[in-house]
Symmetry: C2
Subunit: 320 residues, 2 copies
């Protein structure tokens, strides 16, 4: 695979700029515009065959494709604790897709921008023969004088919180999820600098928790009994014989926020949380030597399994 070699190369020899605070490796780049607001800056793409299909029982509608393309990027901006400001969209159409398809795709893009209150600032449209791709760039702003959230910053003793419910997203949620922009804003209002690190769950809880550990240099313990199982995870487990736990840890594309929060801030947060989206304490941050542990419901501890969602039918893999 060319991807992994390329990702390594990009990380090894970054090309910087005095205003670049965070480059490859986090959910977004962070640019310190010479102003009070840090900027989260993101590119993301959805590719036919890798992120959606247009035929068969799992076919996505063009409106869903437009929504998902923008919502995925907005989820990363939320994970940086920022509010989306403006998006650009590059669409590569292909043979066999007509005006109605293109307009419906745009309707999905537009619905997401309007729902979350950011601008569609422009874009580019081309056609080629064989693959539909939708590439999105999004910039977001942290509140004046406050930093963007990163994957690094979690410390032993922090509490692990997660928004919403996990697992089973491929049953439908992955095409019409709501990025946690409002939730991020409320989390920041309630916990301020008590939010130490954040990531959005795209590869699955187990793998994304692992990313948080790597970037912060910490261990974690996740408490099985506390995990907020989605109804879709339970129903997927009923169909395929895997456990709901496996679905929660590995399904991915939940687009929920996983946060490491200072313990006293977490306490205040849980007490004052007033959003319709659930917020759940699912574990804690440990020193690095503790590794990554799953505390089972029966009290046993085991190593957090390395399961996760492989994006795409042909091993697509995001770099950030």
């Amino acid at each position: 695979m060319g991807e992994l070699a390329l990702i390594r190369r990009i990380r090894e020899a970054p090309t910087g700029h005095p205003w670049l605070k965070v480059g490859p490796g986090s959910d977004c780049a962070v640019v310190t515009w010479p102003a009070g607001h840090e900027m989260a800056y993101k590119i993301d793409q959805v590719v036919e065959g890798a992120h959606f299909v247009l035929d068969g029982p799992e076919a996505a509608t063009p409106r869903q494709i437009g929504w998902k393309a923008l919502a995925k990027a907005a989820s990363d901006i939320a994970a940086a604790g920022c509010r989306p400001v403006a998006a650009l969209v590059a669409i590569n159409l292909r043979n066999g897709l007509d005006d109605t398809f293109a307009l419906e795709l745009h309707a999905g893009v537009k619905a997401c921008a309007e729902r979350l209150g950011f601008a569609l600032a422009g874009g580019d449209i081309t056609s080629s023969e064989r693959t539909l791709t939708v590439c999105v760039s999004l910039i977001g702003a942290a509140p004046a004088g406050q930093p963007a959230w990163l994957r690094q910053g979690a410390r032993a003793g922090d509490v692990l919180l997660v928004t919403g419910e996990l697992g089973g997203s491929r049953g439908g949620k992955h095409l019409d999820f709501m990025p946690r922009v409002e939730e991020a804003s409320q989390l920041r209002n309630l916990a301020g600098a008590g939010i130490r690190a954040c990531i959005d769950i795209t590869d699955g809880l187990a793998r994304d928790a692992g990313h948080l550990c790597e970037e912060s240099g910490v261990g974690i313990e996740i408490d099985e009994a506390a995990l907020p199982l989605s109804a879709a995870a339970v129903s997927a487990a009923g169909r395929d014989g895997r456990s709901a736990l496996e679905h929660v840890l590995g399904d991915g594309e939940d687009f929920e926020l996983l946060l490491a929060v200072d313990p006293s801030a977490a306490e205040a947060l849980m007490k004052n949380w007033a959003h319709a989206t659930r917020l759940t304490r699912i574990g804690r941050v440990l020193p690095p030597a503790a590794g990554r542990t799953l505390k089972r419901s029966d009290g046993r501890s085991e190593r957090l399994p390395d399961v996760g969602y492989e994006h795409g039918t042909s091993a697509g893999s995001p770099t950030q």
Copy 2:
């Protein structure tokens, strides 16, 4: 074609944000970050089969593809009179492209960022079966307290200037051109607010001059005798029997800057211009009723022909 319907729809019903100063329709979006620097914000893509091919006599190398993807976007940032600050790159690989290909592509991307002094801030890599696409987002900054340049703003009486030489780009320049970032910076230093409007030449001089007229609500006269013909335009004319003038007006992908400049600022500019890249006075801005005129070398005036480069083998068409 779905593209045109989509472009119309996007223009008809823009989705805004209080910080968005310029949306779809110019070379870049312009975002007024609450700070001294206006931000030019761009997305662009190069698509196999539309912007380059990997086989045959016109095959591009992976390094050229990486360079072109970033340089095209940088050319738009330059046309906004801004300096590139940070780029994000989303690559969709396809079957049959190996590690060496991916690393060479990245080397081209990196070379462009280093040459022009901006950050590679991150990206995304996926694989799908059938089409290589490279999508780039770039943000650039205007100097503190100065506005980004737009296509609108030209006034009757302004002088039309162009950087470099025109025509014949498909003979090779389109794969290794240097975006006019340094030139834009020097133009701004020398002419300040005397630069009234700017566009980079991608569709061809005739068509892009037309875009400037539409957006500014003006007419123009271009002086054939003054046009800076490239050696490639002359040699293409020798091969295909079309005139060098036709190549200059319609070839496109020159990635030179076309500017409308206040007459006294233009005079000072021509006198003090000290860059290795040529700067040529090629005509003037007229009232809208004058239309778009080509003053031939023999003194006759004719309507500026509507010729231009159709990007892509399958009617790709940029929206901005």
